[in-house]
Structures are given as C-alpha cells and as structure tokens.
Amino acid sequence: MYSVNYHRASSLADAAKLAKTGDAKFLSGGMTLIPAMKTRLAAPSDLVDLGHIAELKGVKVSGKSVVIAAGTTHYEVANDEKLKKVCPAITELAGMIGDPAVRYRGTIGGSIANNDPAADYPSALLALDAVVVTNKRQIAADKFFKGLFETALKDGEIVTAVAFTAPAKAAYQKFRNPASRYAIAGVFVAKGKEGVRVAVTGAGDDGVFRAKQLEAALTKKFDASALDGVTVSSDNLMSDIHASAEYRANLVLVMARRAVTAANARS
C-alpha cells in the first residue's frame, strides 16, 4: 500500500470538510477500498473514515417505509428483525454478501458508492426503486448507477442513507463464482405497487441493469411459469474466463425463476 493520511471524521459536516484535503477518498467498511489500496489499484492521498459517525448508523422501519443509514453493516441489515418482517429479500441478500467477517465490516453505503459490477446491493436498490440519500440531495436508483464502478455521486458527496418502500413480494438469488463467491449472475425480483421490477447484477457488461423483458413477462403473471419460453439476450452481457455472455444470459433466467419462486413461497 502506498502511503496515505488517515482522518477520522466525527460528523458528516466534518467528513465533507476533510474530503477537501488532497486526493481524498471516503472509507466506510473498507472491504473493497483497502484491498484495492493494498494491490495499488487505488492510491488516494487521504482517507476520510466515516466509520465513527453516529448519524450514519441504523435501520428505520415504519409501516412499509424503510430507511437504512449508509454506515449500516451487512451483518446489521441481515439481522434486523423489523426489516426481516417487511422485506426479507434484502436481509437475505445482506446475509449472502462475502463471508461473516466481511459482513461485520462492509456497509450498504460503501457497497453502492463503489458500485462493483458484481456487488449484490445495487440490484436490490434498482429493483426496489430505492432512493439514495446523500449529504446534498436524493437520487433515484435508476439514475444513481452509471456503469462499472461509476455512480452519480459528485466529488465530496457522501451517501447517507438508502430509502425504499417494502414491496409486496421480493427475493434475491445469485449464482456465485466458486472461487471469489461474487455473483456471476444475481437477480433481484420485486413486485410492488408500481409493478414488477427485475434487476440483474454480476452479468452486465456495464454494471447492474433492469431486465425489461423479464419485467414484462412477470407483470402479466408473477410466477416462474411466466418465464417459460422467454429468452434473455446475451447482448451487453459480460464475457470472461468464468462465464461467456451466453452462459450468463441463461443464468439470469434461471436466477430470475428461482427468485420468483422464492418470493411466492413466503407466506
């Protein structure tokens, strides 16, 4: 790791001020940023640690409305009893990220700000039609994710929370890379008031995306059988040593079927 200056922010305002130092980066759980710095893929001059800011912690559920503060860890999301009741799909997703040690440190805000093309949370936010709240504004998930590791965040802007309305039915299924355990294809399916939304992670050539043809089929009938005969195009899907675009296209369909079945299986 190259040399870096560490700053511990005591509040959001403090963090925003500290971010103006040199070529600073925000540090949340550090589960991606620190490994990236160790391999010298990232080399910020300064780190602004958001890990000790009280206003970035916690999950609030009132009725169907959910607000997850950005510094909430995957472990905390996975084990939040109120959230489990209104949106088990997202607590299950959180429990599938990385491994237990990673879930203790990694945060929802860090995950979406990083926008790894194989990260789990971006698919949930997109399918849940969530709003990303920052220290400056609110951004719809549809406008937040901008491709590989790219988001709508401006320099110095800090994700403070994620807000969404719990859908009537939802589930997430992913096919893991056997070595890295990242999604080769992950599909989040949600049936809400506004209809069915299906978001895919791990497979897109340009990061997370909505599978509109699957949404159309599932809007007619929210059942795995509605996907019989539907095909997913391999255009714009990723091809790498782990899986070809065609293989991923098929996996997307299989994961979508499993997710719909899982969503319908909840009583």
Binding site: V4, Y6, P35, G51, P100
Partner: protein, 169 residues
C-alpha cells in the same frame, strides 16, 4: 503517523504507526503478537481473523488507525492461563489442524460462530459460516467436527454455570 491505542487481550497498549499500517501488522510487528497470521493478504483466507469489539474481522483488511479505541482479542488472548479455550481444546482433540497455519483464524472465527448461534450448530451451518476461512491442507472435515464439539461443550458450560447461579441465588 497515527497514535494507535487499543486494549489487546485485556492489556491497554498504544503505539505510533504509519497511517497505512494494517491492524495485523500492528499486532504482529508492534506488539509481537505473531499468533495472528497473514495468509493470502487479499481478504479471502481468514488466517488473520481477530475479534475487534467482539466481532470476528479480517485484521489484514483494517487499518490499525481505524481500530484505534477498540478492544481486540487475538488467539493469544483466548486461553485462561494453562487452560485452553474450549474451541482450542476441541481443535486439539479432533485433530482440527494439520500444518496449523490457518488455525488461529479458524479458531477466532469459530468462537464468533458459536457465540452467534447459542441455539446450537449443525454441520451445514458450520461449513457455511466458515466460508471466509481457507485451510490449504483441506482439513475441513476435522475442523467442522471440532467446532461442533466445542459448541456442545460451551453450551454445557453455560447451562452448568446457569444452574450454579440458580443454586447460589
């Protein structure tokens, strides 16, 4: 440079370290606690797992400066004098180690797993929970056996302590 203050294995320690110093290097090089190992150095193998404020984390993926102010328990802090911790004893009893390199991390992760599952453990849960710990000797079978056995011993220990407390009351 950062001033790093920690409570490690019950002892208050502090030192000055470069900001880029990882917690694992602070433990090993500044404090001489070499029981915690660096395996892959890419956050995958879990040989470096220690407890920070009661949670099992990978100390190769946390800066010492981030941990400053926390309470840390390493493999050296588990045994009670000459008495091994029940998880350590179970690893010995069930031959849960071969070369031993992954063992400190395995044991620290296992203690955390057992603490999180007071209802008891089954084999599938142990295997899933050990996702982040890799044994290059591939000795998983006996590691899983050891964790299951330790979980039972610790549950018994707890119920004994509870009944003692009840009698005392």
């Amino acid at each position: 440079m950062s001033e790093v203050s920690l409570v490690v294995n019950g002892r208050r320690v502090s030192g000055v370290a470069e900001d880029r110093t990882l917690l694992v290097h602070f433990l090993r090089e500044h404090l001489g606690l070499t029981g915690t190992h660096v395996g892959c150095d890419t956050s995958q193998c879990g040989a470096c797992v220690v407890h920070v404020d009661g949670k099992a984390v990978k100390s190769c993926t946390m800066l010492a400066a981030q941990a400053s102010g926390s309470t840390v328990v390493t493999i050296e802090g588990l045994a009670d004098g000459a008495d091994l911790h029940p998880v350590q004893a179970a690893f010995r009893e069930h031959h849960g180690l071969q070369c031993g390199f992954c063992t400190p991390g395995m044991i620290m992760a296992s203690v955390d797993i057992i603490n999180r599952h007071p209802e008891g453990l089954d084999e599938a849960t142990v295997r899933a929970e050990l996702e982040g710990n890799i044994c290059r000797c591939t000795g998983y079978h006996n590691i899983v056996k050891a964790v299951l056995a330790a979980s039972k011993t610790m549950a018994k220990g707890k119920s004994k302590a509870a009944s003692r407390a009840k009698k005392a009351a």
